[in-house]
């Protein structure tokens, strides 16, 4: 089943669901489906139980941090230059706001096919980082969503036990975000070796 067929099947089964195809230009050609927040639980339940696909196995859940980026477009604009209409190229710069993305890789144990890739996006990277949790549909997402909460700061609504999993309780940062600054300056940190060298020099001087 091609990605377009999956899309149309979802759209006909769940009216109002917004499903956008995100094309993957690489040779892997693993295209994915971007879902909207309101219908994602219905879509996921449908994909698992009802559809031809029977995606009963959620393999991989992961987060991605997309920083705000500047997009420059060259637009040809007709301008009046010295009374004569000319075509001039102008560079329009727009800032695409950053967001956090969660990716689900689904397979079917029953039908032995896959992957079908679902994506969810938060509205921004600071305040509106809520997403619906898919743990009630696939238990496999339980620990992986906790990990995304821990390392990326996505808050999954409906998750049964949303706590930090890899870092300790009381840690405040989300270290997998692209703009996280590490507490150690490992490149320039002092080493004991100068001290050791000094001591060995003193000892060799004594003998």
């Amino acid at each position: 089943m091609t990605i377009e067929q999956v899309q149309s099947e979802i759209q006909s089964a769940i009216p109002g669901a917004k499903v956008e195809i995100i094309l993957n230009p690489s040779p892997s050609a693993q295209h994915s489906l971007l879902l909207d927040h309101e219908h994602v639980l219905a879509v996921a339940t449908y994909l698992r139980d009802v559809s031809e696909l029977r995606l009963d196995y959620c393999s991989n859940v992961t987060g991605i941090d997309w920083l705000p980026r500047e997009k420059s477009e060259k637009v040809k604009v007709k301008n009046l230059v010295e009374g004569v209409e000319q075509e001039v190229e102008e560079v329009h710069k727009t800032v695409v706001p950053g967001y956090l993305e969660v990716v689900y890789h689904l397979f079917s144990v029953e039908k032995k096919h896959g992957p079908v890739i679902l994506r969810l996006r938060t509205e921004d990277r600071a305040a509106k980082v809520h997403l619906p949790s898919l743990t009630p549909i696939w238990r496999a997402a339980e620990f992986q969503e906790r990990e995304i909460f821990d390392l990326y700061g996505v808050i999954f609504d409906g998750h049964p036990d949303l706590r930090r999993i890899l870092m300790w309780e009381g840690f405040v940062d989300h270290p997998m975000r692209r703009d996280y600054v590490e507490p150690d300056d490992y490149e320039y940190e002092p080493t004991p070796h100068d001290h050791v060298l000094q001591r060995s020099r003193e000892e060799s001087g004594r003998h």
Binding site: L166, M167, W168, E169, G170, F171, V172, D173, P175, Y180, E182, P183, D184, Y186, E189, P190, T191, P192, D194, H195, Q198
Partner: protein
């Protein structure tokens, strides 16, 4: 103190002489009981060292004790993360004197290949004194055996009295060290100045 030449002469005649210090150290060095304590990849090589092929029992160190109260030696075998560091120091504090530490592998020495990691402690010698460092990723079992023999030599050379007597015979020296606590971004304190002199940072802060 018996003259070394006389001692050799006597042993030729079948008379065995020794000192209390030699006897004490001989007993200690041949019954080093390590703590059953694995952290990462190096732990597998540590297990391999105790198995039939490398047979650590030849050095009197095959009795791995699960409780720190019964152990003499902590082999820090693997990456110490910041989340694990308080537990490692606490285990060290729970061991009775005399106690020794082998930092096994690049990670335990300095963070090794994972030195860039935000959750990786850049060497266990920031919090506890280390007696023997073994480089390698992971060190071979032979290297661990070499570390044991180095430690045995060290134990053998310790004097029971005098200014350079070891820590467990010198009440002025501490046998427990500060257990770091989980902070908001990093461990607090970030190192123990008693065991980790920071020559460069001191120079930087003073100058």
């Amino acid at each position: 103190m018996i003259d070394e030449q006389l001692k050799i002469e006597l042993s030729r005649q079948g008379i065995f002489t020794t000192t209390l210090e030699e006897l004490y150290n001989w007993g200690r060095k041949n019954s080093v009981w390590p703590l059953t304590f694995g952290l990462a990849c190096c732990a597998i090589e540590m297990i391999a060292t105790t198995m039939a092929r490398y047979d650590l029992a030849r050095f009197g160190a095959e009795v791995f004790r699960p409780s720190p109260r019964q152990a003499d030696l902590m082999i820090v075998s693997g990456t110490v993360t910041k989340k694990m560091a308080p537990q490692v120091v606490r285990l060290y504090n729970q061991m009775p004197e005399p106690k020794y530490v082998i930092a096994m592998g690049a990670c335990a020495i300095s963070g090794g290949p994972f030195k860039q990691g935000y959750n990786v402690l850049k060497g266990i010698d920031r919090y506890v004194p280390v007696d023997v460092h073994i480089p390698g990723c992971p060190p071979r079992p032979e290297a661990l055996i070499h570390a044991f023999m180095t430690l045995q030599k060290k134990i053998d050379g310790q004097h029971l009295s005098g200014a350079d007597r070891p820590r467990h015979l010198n009440e002025a020296l501490p046998s427990e060290f500060v257990v770091p606590e989980y902070g908001a971004h990093d461990l607090e304190p970030r190192s123990n100045d008693l065991v980790w002199p920071l020559p460069m940072s001191k120079a930087v802060t003073q100058g």
